[in-house]
Point group: C2
Chain length 250, copies 2
């Protein structure tokens, strides 16, 4: 049985707490949060507390707080014997430099409070300073998800950049598409099936093979026509992404 402490009261911490309470091979011993209100609802199921110095010894301490306070909290756990991990995609393993036994336990998905997450399909990126701790963390992650990956801090940094492209920037292109529709009184929902198809396709073929459109087929007539319909920033984006696709055509 793995004894676990959870630190945090935000979206991720709340979702993780619910999941950990459900894992047969895990005992969630205690939840800490600066403000006890956010975690009061767990009081029936585990110990909740707002003072770090009252924490008991457990096998693993999961720091699921915002990036800015990870280091501060980890320092206060420096005398604990257990493994201390953070859950941030953006922070290096060594932000936990005060903890001899340290690791990263990063679920790559966005979490919304009050929307339950199906953790079984969420990829967990894990890392630990010592191999024995890696195995311990792998055991915990496997209780939660079917998808567990060994990812170093450097890889996580690169993955974060990749995620900005496939998530934040993609959503921004959806926004531009929605704006073009709105300006022309076209219901944006017409594009939903296409959007979903584009996202689903790359589960079976690579984005390289999935590429279609005027730039892919060197259709300069259509490209020119489209460019006449755009202006300012959207035109710049059209030109740059078209050029980037053209550059990869063989």
């Amino acid at each position: 049985m793995l004894k676990v402490t959870l630190l945090g009261g935000g979206n991720l911490a709340t979702n993780l707490a619910n999941k950990l309470l459900d894992c047969p091979q895990v005992t969630l011993m205690q939840i800490y949060n600066r403000s006890i209100q956010n975690i009061a609802s767990f009081a029936e199921k585990t110990r909740v507390l707002d003072q770090l110095d009252l924490l008991e010894e457990t096998d693993i301490y999961i720091i699921a707080v915002s990036d800015a306070v990870i280091e501060e909290i980890s320092e206060k756990l420096s005398r604990k014997k257990g493994l201390v991990v953070h859950t941030s995609g953006a922070m290096h393993l060594n932000v936990l430099k005060n903890n001899k036994r340290r690791g990263v336990f990063y679920p790559l998905q966005s979490f919304t409070k009050n929307v339950p997450v199906d953790f079984s399909n969420v990829p967990f990126c894990i890392e630990a300073l010592n191999e024995s701790d890696f195995i311990l963390l792998e055991k915990l992650a496997s209780e939660i998800s079917k998808k567990v990956y060994r990812i170093s801090s450097l890889q996580r940094e690169k993955m974060h950049v990749a995620a900005v492209f496939v998530n934040n920037f993609v959503n921004h292109l959806y926004r531009i598409g929605a704006e073009i529709c709105s300006e022309n009184e076209i219901p944006f929902e017409i594009l939903h099936p296409l959007i979903l198809e584009t996202a689903t396709k790359i589960n079976t073929i690579s984005p390289e093979l999935a590429q279609t459109g005027p730039a892919k087929r060197n259709d300069f007539k259509t490209i020119e026509k489209h460019q006449k319909e755009l202006k300012e920033e959207n035109l710049k984006i059209y030109k740059l992404l078209t050029k980037s696709i053209l550059n990869r055509n063989t």
Copy 2:
């Protein structure tokens, strides 16, 4: 009962033929294709032919061929009494100028041969010169799909530009993400759930509200860090899309 003629032997025509043969309120009277081989498999279920002048009169003629030959085929149907429609997202209604009764019957989805399409969720964008023909076309489209929209040629042109953003350009960002992963020995599949979540989210909230990431939260520290990890074209894309997101922050 609607009597329909289908012209074409490509992916869309093949998928449409199968669907039309299944519609209880539609009789697919005949399929024409320049090369009879592509449509020979339908010979048991309907009349197949490779000569335009042998076509019988029907209520509707659906020209489902590549953009470059729509006009040529439509000219040869100029003496038909029925409604002549094309299925192209990129062509104006008036490419059918030789047909007094003309319309557009455009399913907005990409079609792959030998992969059966569930037409019931494919948005159909329809348009006709005369209101009575619009009603006729609406009747046909409603037999095939639950999602039928009245979209003018001008709107279709704009929609096509929007589709380049949300489909072609989005896929290119997936490609860049996959390349960053590959360069750093990260399995790209780790990003699949995030990609799918991003695409699904906008079914319930607008892309404007769905936007997250460093640019959205004015996190210039992270933006600067990411920019140091990118170079050349990808850096330009990062900068331009980040600027475009920042410009919309209030």
